[in-house]
């Protein structure tokens, strides 16, 4: 029995989470230090402590820190939304965009860009588009009968295909000089992220809602009927998951466009290492997703500086080899 007890404490020990917190902090420091003007650790420490070069302080506190925090918050939201969608649809291949949410946001954002609206209005349009797509998919999947994960998934996939066609159409009819901005938005870009507090607040709020549900989500992952037989009120839980994942994704897409890969792969990578206990996976997703996007964004703005790359390209280029490596190594 003592063996079993030590296995339990090992199963629940905070080890991997502590490492992920460390990695998150490190990624923030790297994001602060690197850029058009690289700072030495001493200069970084001085500027953060409130003295040192005034120019450095402005650079850090007004440019790099908000962007690094926004990247962290956005990555955290996307990874959490991906993990929730995978449980909701009982499909490990689901990502935050699988139900057409980024498509709706993209179409609305591109229309706003075509109309020549400013950054704030483009973001507002993206948020409205994301929520509209969510409601359409949910309404249609509900239909006249009961909705099942498969029906929800199919409705979402078909809607996403429809949005994809509209996006291609909008790109085809847009004037050439607007295309780069549109493409960057579609691939994800943190240059116009603005204040990091909305994403960070939503990430904290999402975690607060989801953490007490952790064990219940573990049971739901075994299937709706099995969960119901173990005392889970499945329908209200699925509504909560759907609305939360949609809201969280909408906020992320509004902040930084539709960044791919993070939401699909981060939960997977963590599951390969940590198992599928949501009480560990969900906080780990926030930390690892945030860390990955912070590093990716740092690379995106430094690799071929002064030109910036879309961060979605970097997330995929960083993520694909590390994911394949983990998959190859796993039993």
């Amino acid at each position: 029995m003592s063996g079993a007890r030590s296995r339990l404490s090992r199963r629940l020990r905070p080890g991997p989470l502590a490492w992920l917190v460390l990695a998150a902090l490190l990624s923030q420091l790297i994001a602060l230090a690197l850029g058009s003007v690289a700072l030495s650790p001493a200069e970084l420490a001085a500027a953060l402590a409130g003295d040192g070069d005034a120019l450095h302080r402005t650079l850090l506190l007004e440019l790099r820190l908000p962007r690094a925090l926004a990247a962290f918050g956005t990555g955290a939201l996307l990874a959490m939304a991906g993990a929730l969608m995978q449980i909701l649809l009982r499909n490990p291949l689901a990502d935050p965009y699988v139900l057409g949410l980024s498509g709706g946001a993209s179409v609305a954002a591109l229309v706003a860009m075509l109309a020549g609206w400013g950054v704030a209005l483009v973001s507002g349009a993206a948020f409205a588009g994301a929520l509209a797509s969510t409601l359409i998919v949910f309404g249609l999947a509900h239909g006249t009968g009961s909705w099942t994960p498969t029906r929800l998934l199919l409705t979402g996939v078909v809607m996403a295909a429809g949005w994809g066609a509209l996006i291609t159409f909008l790109l085809a009819v847009s004037p050439v000089e607007r295309l780069p901005g549109m493409l960057y938005w579609l691939m994800g870009d943190l240059a116009y992220a603005g204040s990091p507090w909305p994403v960070l607040a939503v990430a904290a709020l999402g975690l607060a809602v989801v953490l007490p549900l952790g064990r219940t989500l573990n049971v739901l992952a075994r299937g709706g009927l099995q969960a119901a037989a173990l005392g889970v009120a499945v329908r209200p839980l699925e509504w909560t998951l759907y609305l939360l994942a949609s809201l969280v994704t909408a906020v992320a897409v509004t902040t930084a466009g539709s960044i791919g890969f993070v939401g699909l792969m981060v939960p997977h990578m963590l599951r390969l290492r940590l198992g599928n206990d949501q009480r560990r996976i969900l906080p780990a997703c926030l930390l690892a997703g945030g860390t990955l996007l912070t590093l990716a964004d740092t690379l995106a703005r430094t690799l071929i500086a002064p030109q910036q790359l879309p961060v979605g390209v970097i997330t995929a280029l960083l993520g694909v080899p590390s994911f394949l490596y983990l998959l190859y190594r796993s039993r």
Binding site: P212, A228, G275
Partner: protein, 255 residues
């Protein structure tokens, strides 16, 4: 009063006009076998009794309380169901899977404690699974996976056991072991109801039998009154030969 009772219950099978309303009383200590051909509604009946499907009419009562008035969590503390199908889309170990049987007993913030773990370990030991505790579900054979499902419900320790073909995929030794486990639960004061395809297991291990016909007709009663060749041949549309072995009837299909 039975532990599990149905009143004028008609289960909801799509495309079936109606059927005989069921007035069952499954008492504590009783072992019920549900027999019927494919598609007769055995699984639907168990799911209806577990409150997972709404009946077309009538009601189910657990210790006198209508299921519709019980909260799901309260129900799960008293009634457990061994599923025929399972969905292992996500990785999980055998131990974790047994441990989810404690879910209805824990509050949202509560971690599984040593006592919960001890129950899961005991259930795994009872089903010969201790050596597989750390294994992933995906690596198990069909029979091993079936025993894990039973271990989950054993960890849940309900007073009413519903088991949908509990001997599926099991070798002969484990078939007998699992029927012995269910009999042991009944002897401890549980009510047990199981769907079976093996008439001989039903004849040996069940004291009550419910025969479900494809057209919705049904009859039920003491096992020795139900398990008569004429009724069984009509049930399955299959001629049978009967022999007596060790004082119990053995049914063999005739070709």
């Amino acid at each position: 009063m039975g532990a599990l009772e149905t009143r004028q219950l008609v289960i909801d099978i799509p495309g079936r006009a109606g059927g005989r309303p069921l007035d069952l009383r499954v008492g504590t200590g009783e072992r019920w076998g549900v027999l019927g051909p494919n598609g007769a509604g055995k699984t639907t009946l168990l799911h209806t009794l577990a409150g997972l499907r709404a009946p077309r009419s009538g009601e189910v009562r657990l210790d006198g309380d209508p299921l519709s008035r019980l909260r799901r969590r309260a129900l799960a503390r008293r009634l457990g169901l061994v599923f025929q199908d399972r969905h292992d889309d996500f990785p999980a170990t055998v131990r974790e899977t047994a441990l989810i049987g404690r879910h209805p007993f824990l509050s949202p913030w509560q971690q599984e404690g040593p006592e919960d773990l001890a129950r899961a370990e005991a259930a795994l030991a009872r089903l010969d699974l201790t050596h597989l505790a750390e294994r992933g579900l995906a690596t198990l054979s069909g029979g091993e996976r079936q025993r894990v499902s039973l271990a989950t419900v054993l960890t849940q320790a309900p007073r009413v056991w519903l088991a949908d073909e509990p001997t599926n995929h099991l070798d002969l030794h484990h078939q007998v072991a699992v029927m012995g486990l269910l009999a042991e639960q009944a002897n401890r004061g549980c009510a047990v109801m199981m769907c079976l395809h093996d008439l001989n297991l039903a004849a040996r291990w069940c004291d009550h039998v419910l025969l479900l016909y494809p057209d919705g007709e049904a009859c039920w009663g003491a096992a020795d009154a139900m398990l008569v060749p004429a009724a069984l041949e009509r049930l399955y549309g299959q001629p049978l030969t009967t022999a007596m072995v060790d004082g119990a009837p053995v049914f063999v299909p005739r070709t």
